[in-house]
Every structure is written in C-alpha cells, then in structure tokens.
Assembly symmetry: D2
C-alpha cells in the first residue's frame, strides 16, 4: 500500500511535516505501523500550492529517505496546501511518470489502493479516457487513469458527483469482467483552495484515512503522523471528507 499526507493551513516549510514529526512520512517510508506492506521505496512525490495557479510538482524514483534534494527542497519550499506521497508499487514500473501526486491544471491527486484485476482491465479502462485528455496519460498506473476518468466525468465543476460516477463506472466494468478482487480507493484531491479526501472500498477493507485538526492547520493522511493514534479521527469507510479554511466535515459518499 502507498502512504500519503495532505496539509492545509498556515504556510509552513514542508520539512515541518515531512521530516520533523515523530512518525513522519519519510520515516513511514522505511517501516509501517498500520499496514502490512513494509517498504515504500518505489518512488515518491510532492505537490504544493503557492502564488502561482498551477501547483509545483516533484517526483523521484529513489527512496524518499535517500534523496538529498528532498531534504533541501523541504527546507526551502513553504506552502499552505501541499501533498506528499511514498509509493509501494503494485506492479507497474518505478518511473517518475508513475509517481504521485498527479497534476492537471490547478488540480492535484494522489491515491492509495488499486483496481482489482487492473492488468486484465487496462485495455478497456484506457479506452474510457476521452481524446482531449489522452495526452495527459503519461504513465501506466491505475491511479493516473482514475484521475483522468474523474476529470472526464466533471471533477472540475462537480467533484463529488464525478467521483461517484467514476467509481461506479469502474465497478461496472469489473463486474462485466467477473473480477473478484476488490477495488480499493483512498485518495485526496485539491483545486488549490480546498482538499477533498475519499475512503472507499468495494469490500470491507478500505485503506485507512486519518485526519487531525490543529490550531492553525489540518492534516489528513493514510496514517497518523504521531503515535497518539487516538487523537486522530479515522474517516469511516465509504465517506468523503472536505477540508477548507481550517474546517473539516465528512459525509457518506453514497447514500
């Protein structure tokens, strides 16, 4: 399973979240507490918003803990809304094009989970990408594909509906092809203003999603960033969460 975190609040240097937490993402990339896969060393990435409309993006195929550039960038880049992701590949190549977060215009997306039977479905899934978005298909992951389908289904104007439609579209295809493996999808989006996070699975094992509100910021991620796990809210499976202006609310994705 991949691991990720997203931050919204007072602008801070990225290092304060990436390196200076007792259970920071960089530390997590070496050893996991809540997940059965123990190593996230198949590439990582950062996305951050600043004065420019489109977010900054940084992707690297080295393990996060051994990238000297990351240490310096995290000391010098300041942001009030940023994403970080450490990857454990479920099969596709370790290349920059396969690293999260994915960017499209002012949007960022990253993901933990997988489409069951993806290899068998990829031919049909890729055909769902409309022509005008196809040049954005740069890698081979199911994550990038899901993001493009959500954009095609209207993410920019009515995000929650686009997410629902896309999940159902993929589940339908899996059903047609008699895929028994689950579709697990815990993910986070942003347009630069708010953060939208989703915890979903077609079975009862949705990957974890934790949030915590601090005085001047909120953090949401696949795992808690400190060891007081009970001070973090576990977002219920099948729920969508919104983080905006340091507020946080959640509701069922499907009702």
């Amino acid at each position: 399973m991949c691991r990720w975190m997203a931050y919204q609040g007072l602008p801070v240097y990225l290092e304060s979240l990436l390196f200076k937490q007792e259970h920071s993402l960089i530390h997590q990339s070496l050893s996991a507490r809540k997940s059965s896969v123990t190593v996230n060393a198949d590439g990582f990435g950062l996305g951050w918003y600043d004065e420019r409309e489109e977010p900054g993006l940084y992707h690297e195929i080295l393990p996060a803990w051994s990238d000297s550039n990351l240490k310096s960038l995290a000391k010098h880049i300041k942001s009030g809304l940023f994403f970080a992701h450490v990857r454990a590949s479920t099969g596709t190549e370790t290349s920059r094009a396969n690293c999260h977060p994915f960017g499209y215009k002012n949007w960022l997306f990253m993901h933990n989970g997988q489409i069951g039977g993806y290899e068998a479905l990829r031919w049909q899934l890729d055909r769902l990408i409309p022509e005008h978005l196809y040049q954005e298909r740069k890698g081979a992951t199911d994550s990038e594909l899901i993001f493009l389908l959500m954009i095609a289904n209207g993410l920019e104007t009515h995000a929650e509906q686009a997410i629902r439609v896309t999940l159902l579209q993929i589940l339908d295809l899996m059903k047609d092809k008699n895929i028994d493996e689950p579709f697990r999808f815990t993910s986070v989006f942003s347009d630069g203003k708010r953060i939208i996070a989703v915890r979903f699975s077609s079975d009862d094992k949705a990957p974890s999603l934790y949030a915590k509100q601090f005085d001047d910021h909120i953090v949401i991620g696949s795992e808690p960033l400190d060891h007081r796990t009970d001070s973090w809210t576990l977002v219920p499976a099948g729920h969508i969460a919104y983080l905006e202006n340091n507020h946080y609310h959640t509701h069922a994705l499907f009702d």
Copy 2:
C-alpha cells in the same frame, strides 16, 4: 534523430562495436556527423541474443557515455546478434520504458524516426492495439506502439507483410486526420536468427541506413561506424534489407 546499430556474425564482446570503433555509437551519442540533431543523451539501450531464447535487454536513462555499467557489461557480454540504440527524444519522457530496443518474446525492435502529428494521433493509435497485446504497452513512445501494431499484424509469421500493413494503417490514419508532417521510419527487427531492417519515409527524407559486410560479420545502422563512408552501402529509401548467415540482400518494400 536517434542512432542505432545492429550486428550479426561471429560472437564478439559488445565493446568491440560499441567503444572500439573510430565512429562508435557511444562517440556518436556525443556528436553527430550525418544528422542535424547533435546530442543523443535521452537514454539508451542494448539487446543481445545468446543461448537463451529471449534476448537480454538493458535500458538506462543516463547518457550512454557516462554509464559506468555499460563499460563493464560491454566488456563481458558476448553475442553473435545484438542491437544498440542511443536516443534523442522527440518529446516523450526520458524513462527506461521509453528506451529502445523493445522486446517481445524472442523479438527485438528499434527505430529512428517519428509519426508526424503523433500527439494528435496517439488516442486513435493506441486503440489499434489489440487487448491481448495491451499489457506490453509500457511506455508512451510511437516506437513501442509501431512495434506492437506490427506484432498484431503478424510480424512473427509473415514479417514483411506485417510491416507493410502497419505502415499503411498509420499513413491512412494520418490522412484521415489531415496530418501534413511526414512519417519517417528507419528500423530494425530480429527474431534471434536474422535481422530485418527497413528504410522508409512518407516524404523524400527517409533517415539514413547504412550496411557493411566484413569477413565474419555484417553491421547495419543509422550511420557508418568508421569514417570511410564510401565503403558502406546506403540502403535506398523505401527498401527492406535482410541479414542472415553473413549474407545481405535488399529489395523495394512496396512495388
């Protein structure tokens, strides 16, 4: 333009062709003589046949001249049929999945040229790949795509016809989309027994293709490997060449 060479003959260490020629491919990667693009530093690759049925493959994103592994591998790998390629990207990412040669079962393929208007056509071209081959689509290049279409069109059983059919299929699509840019395609295939090379372009500027017969081997490539250019045969545009058992013949691809 990319540069490449293929060797058939008495088994030799790869270094004898890759490093020890006065105009070797590694030297070419730094500065070109016959081409207007001067640097081939966007990844490179090797493919070689030995006792095993499937060829060995080595791809790297560093410039060929600065890869210390290449020097050692070329000193220790011996082969009687091998391919080498240095890439100058026409737009797609510098990643291993985009490096030539491409392999499929016992086949190798590499290529110099490009499909005019590829970005505009990629959506339609990718849809021509049949489902059973789609898992072989690992990168985003037109080269890998052309190879997969040729396999779909029967490369393994009737190579020459598969090549013709695929070229026409792509030209038809370009015509439908009113693409004015040319389709240039100088390429080389092998099944481990013989080498098939093609020099083709939809305009009158087919990338160069040179062959030379030595006592115990034949070399074919995008450029001569020594400075006696007039001792190399320039394969005519629109022709296909066969190299087998140290013999070499060529004929028009379309008549």
Copy 3:
C-alpha cells in the same frame, strides 16, 4: 568545459533566467556557441537564497533539458540571488556529489575549469584539506577540493586573499610535480549577500566570463544569455568581479 550563470537583483522565478532567455543555460547545455566542448549533460545543479540563512540546493545527474522536476521547480522557486550550473565532466563520475554548486554554511560555489594533472595531484591536494573540513569532502572533483581549500584559507572572513592564497598553493604544487598542463579557474562564490566571480588561468586561455547589468538585476556567467554578445562585458583574465546591490566592479586579482 562547464557552463554556469549567477543572478543578483529583484527576486524572480528561476525559469525567467533558466528557460526564457534566447540563449538560456538549458539551451546552452545542448549546444555551445563559445566553447569547444559541445555537450553539458553530465549533471547539473541549482543553488538559491531566500529567507533562510543557508541556500537551497538541487543536484541531478540527468541532462538538465530532460529533468521534468527542474521545469516545475524553476516555475515555483523565486530568488534574488541564485546560481545554476550544467556540467561537462573532465573525468570524474556523473554523481550528485560531483555536481555544482557546492554549498558550505551560507556559502555557494561553482566553477568552470580544471587543475592540470589533477589525477596525479589528487593524493597531495586532498591532504591539504584540514581535518575539521574533511567531512565536507563528499565527491571526487577538483572543484569541491578547491572550494574546501579556499574555506580553509579564510574565504569566510577575507575572501579575496583566500582565493589568491589557494590559487598560489595549487600552482606551487603543480610546479613541484612538473605539471605542464594549465590550471584554469573561472568561478563564482556567494555568501548570500554579494557575488564574487574570478576569471583566472595559468596560461593565456582563461575560460570566458561575461557580465551584464540590467535595470533591476545583474547576471554573470560563462557565456552571454542572449545573442547580443557585444552588450555583455567580458571580464578580463586575471580579474575578480564583485556584484552587490545591483552594482558591479572588477579589478586585477594579483597586481
């Protein structure tokens, strides 16, 4: 020869100098105008000052033109004093530890040139590094070594004298060892406030060093960044230049 540029003035996004000039460093890395070595693809680096005391550093072994991270970083990092460097190796490995600029506390350094007979002298030169600085010796280049010797000789408190002493120290050692090859050294330093650049060679072929004053900034570099070469000042060989508060002056290094 390597190529580099340094900027001082109104804070700007790095891309305005790295990508948006008609003869930008990234373009130069592909093909040179003023230098006989044509490709600078053996790694590159950035160093930039912002609110923090120590500068940011970014080093990469890919050619600058094919690093997707560089494009995004240059769009999002803003600085009023920054360095950029594209490397053409004179023998040492293409690794991050060998990429310029080199950093030490609040100082940055980068360099074009080489110590004649460096391989033969490295054993003795490395022994000149004092024990307290030896942990800063991370790579194997002559450039990093020269920087450490200058720090040892007092760069932080009396820069110009430290530069002179170090150049003479190296020339003495070359003389002792009967090295006939020249010591060429065109370089730039900063403490975050001012830029110091040196154009020096033991023969009459000091690598070029050009400066140009604009309304709100100054640029100094190994080559002009636009094609109006005559609007750039060629710093005379054997001179040291100071850039501070948008002013620029130069005088002979030795008199």
Copy 4:
C-alpha cells in the same frame, strides 16, 4: 546492515541464486530475518568472473527489487564465481561509487559492517592510502577504504596477513582516538580462483556469516538463502574461511 552472498561452483545463471531461492537476496532486500535493520534499498551491486581476467561489475542506486535491468542481466549472465550485495547505508550517499562489490584488477571485495566513529576517523584513514592507489578511491565509504588499505598491505600476494595487518591498523587508530563504538567487519574477497571470507568484530556481535556446501557448488553469505537455517554452517566470529574447488575450510584469524 548490508546483506551479501557469494557463489563458487558449476557455472549457473545468476538468477538461480538471486531470484529463485525461497530466501533470495532480492527478497532479503525487502525484509530481513536475522538482522534488525529491515530495508536494504540504498543501492546494490554484482560482480562476476568469466573468461576475462577482470570481473564484470554492475552497480545501481535503485532498490534491487525494482531494477528491470537486473532481472534481464541475471537471466543472461552465467558465472562459476560471483558476488551480490544489497546495501543499507550507514550514512554515506546512495551513489554508484558507494555500491559494493568493489573491484581492483582481478579482485572483488564486499562487506557488511562498519568502522565505529568512521566520520571522525576518515581524515586520518584516507591518509593511510598510498599515493599509487589513491586514484582508486572513488567514493566515500569505509568499505572502499578498507579494501584499498588491504591492497596496500599486500592482499594480492599474502591475503591473510594483509587482512590481519589492516584490521589491527584500524583498531589502533580507533584506540588513539578513543572511539568506543565497535569495528564490525564481515566480508568476502576473491581473486577469481578462490573465495576468502572473514567474520570479525571488535565486540562480541560480529555480523553473521553462513556457508553451505551443495553437490556442485558452495554458497557463503550474510544470511542463509533458504529457511532451513540449521543446514547452514555459521562461521565462528574471528574466523576466516576459504572456498576453493568446491571445498571449504575455516580457521581462527588471529591466534
């Protein structure tokens, strides 16, 4: 701690040891059984002997499990004496120059352990390398340093004595500098004919060293390659082992 294995016997494809064992080195790189450090993802390397006098070398900074080249090379390279190593850095950079095995002429060397207080001693240790070997100092690890000191102390002509002298030389220096941390050194050498392995530590926690004799080959390594640990011989701490012509013997290094 690093992990490594060495093979001597009937020539085999490297994959038979690297990938096809239930507890192969590639699997070990992801999760350890006998060691407290859990991830070996800071580079890896191969060294192998064939018809040529100098061994082949392959070093890579990606985790071993995600290097597509390694899979193909291991399928196509055959050897009767080879080394493989997966690295967990104890502080120095993840670069190819820091990856094991190290090569010198016909010799290979790799290592698990570390010199206590290495950072504090590096200045003095590097000064022990004689001038004629200094050009072989390409990285910054204690491992490369130890190998060069052993060569300086006569490894090529009287290996066992050179090993003893070097260990004592380093221990003396540590004593002079009042280093309390231990010097742990479990390592393996070859000249292409025989394998010499050493298990040593200045404290009572020498890193493990296991050997096993099969019908037509012997394997020695930091961990057993299968789960029948009791079928492997644990070389006693303070011992040196010799593997030659499919025979194996061991004796105390110091008496």
